[in-house]
Symmetry: C2
């Protein structure tokens, strides 16, 4: 089932009372896409909210645009629950109750994996879209809604974060064509949005990055880089875990590195973020420990292991993954 | 004088024996633009070279495509000398002799300042172009030359480096439209080019960055960040100065920083790279010491001062610049 942009636009135009669901650990694409659609629906006089149950990351706070709520009962009548940039109840944990309220269920995503447990009334999954924001942009246009500056900012944030600023191989002509359109909107300035997303790093976060980089270990002839964000390091630098964002990209910028693993130690578990450069299938490695993701960007969580033991468990698998070529 | 793309394309089609001149301290736009045009001219059976007299930076080495030479007498007959991404003899120092060989002189640039000492036979200066590569792309198209994968790689490198990966405020619809076209060329993959430019940083360079960041000083209530790349630090980390590229961007990513100054100590002089975020006029500050550039990205050189004295001279001016708002 893959409904057309046009048919989804038609369905949405007839509905009111809409809850939009970004995935857990929301990123710029998830929140930007949800807020863009929420603003578009509201501009048509509809009641719509973005349903969240975690704090919005600091660097994405400007993308709220008054859309976000954690209140399950914010709407009397929910005609549609719509997952955006995700697909599956395990991606909206803690919000299942709100999700169930929707009389219709929908999904707009660009991840190829599709949840089997949900019967959507409509769904559009475009694995070739670099960002969910590209699909949302097309739906908003198809609904005949004007792209305002606020909507443009949301769409730009969605696309630029998910494409690594138009550098990753998921970027397409379409990504650039949409971005090119956004520039035609009065007042649009990529630098303003970009500075909000990327240029508000605290001095502490910069120091944290330096410490993690200084402590990197290398395996497989320098092709695998392994780093750690420990609770001790967070305390020492005065950082929260979300300030570790970007460290793994830095690890991937080192010559010869084909794969990177960044362990993030929280109070309850140890998460591993995985990246590959070209051939290493990190999603496959992550899936061995109940995780998942894309081939070149994946992750998994260890609930019952110390950081040290998680490392002992995962690193040998990653070495094999890197050496498999 | 601002000749049309079409008239320049017509002139070029009639010429043979062409030397292309990128500016000193060549960057991705200068070299990418020159190589793109050189490849296009060669594909028409013409003799063309990119004239340089300094090593190509390591992260741009793939942009040579066999075009670069330092041999003044590489061509028997030079029908055209063409400056690209620059304008003025002080931007092609050490290559004046080769420049003079051209029977015709031309200039294609996107910097607003125009040299008065040269009488160009044709010139096109588009201050609104984000990169010289955008103008070159249009000229190549106007010449009727097919955009090959190699040419596409050069143009992408030119635009992505000069726009800060499509984030800076110089980016326009046109930047994205051209990038969008490049994706339609068989085999084009932005990630490949991006990885060559950005993801070949040595472990030493990463360490150098960490050390400079750790040693930053802040002035004007944290709005001015000042860093130093000393000869001692280069020796300690085993780096060359070109491995300091990117450090100033990192300084600008710190919350609250409105301006950054990175001092680079070489054996003969001290250079200062300056960046502004929004309002600080760094070109004006640089011009007080014989330097120049754009408002938000400028630089100057101190030939007769130690690093310490250069700092004592420049920093108070920068504090005033930042506090002028």
């Amino acid at each position: 089932m893959n409904d057309t942009i046009k048919s989804i636009a038609t369905i949405m135009k007839d509905l009111d009372g809409i809850l939009l669901f970004p995935h857990i650990n929301m990123d710029g694409d998830a929140l930007g896409s949800c807020s863009a659609l929420c603003l578009a629906l509201r501009s048509m006089g509809k009641k719509a909210y973005v349903m969240i149950n975690e704090p919005v990351p600091k660097n994405l706070d400007f993308l709220e645009y008054g859309c976000c709520t954690s209140d399950d009962s914010v709407l009397d009548d929910v005609q549609l629950s719509l997952m955006i940039d995700c697909n599956g109840l395990n991606r909206i944990t803690g919000r299942e109750k709100a999700w169930e309220r929707g009389r219709l269920k929908g999904c707009i995503d660009h991840h190829a994996t599709k949840a089997k447990e949900i019967r959507y009334d409509f769904a559009r999954i475009e694995p070739k879209a670099a960002a969910a924001g590209e699909i949302i942009y097309n739906i908003i246009r198809a609904m005949g809604v004007e792209i305002t500056l606020d909507i443009a900012n949301c769409i730009f944030a969605a696309i630029t974060t998910d494409t690594g600023n138009f550098q990753h191989s998921n970027t397409t002509s379409r990504s650039h064509e949409i971005a090119g359109h956004l520039y035609k909107i009065e007042g649009f300035n990529s630098k303003v949005i970009s500075a909000l997303i990327y240029d508000r790093r605290s001095k502490q976060a910069i120091k944290l990055e330096g410490e993690v980089i200084a402590g990197l270990d290398f395996y497989a002839d320098g092709r695998l880089a392994v780093g750690r964000v420990t609770q001790d390091l967070l305390k020492e630098t005065g950082c929260t875990m979300d300030e570790a964002d970007g460290i793994i990209q830095k690890m991937m910028s080192i010559e010869g590195v084909e794969g990177a693993c960044l362990f993030k130690e929280s109070e309850n578990n140890v998460r591993a973020s995985l990246r590959g450069r070209t051939y290493a299938n990190m999603a496959k490695a992550a899936s061995m420990f109940g995780g998942g993701g894309h081939m070149l960007a994946a992750g998994c969580t260890f609930n019952d292991l110390s950081l040290k033991d998680a490392e002992k468990t995962l690193v040998p698998v990653l070495i094999s993954t890197i050496e498999e070529k």
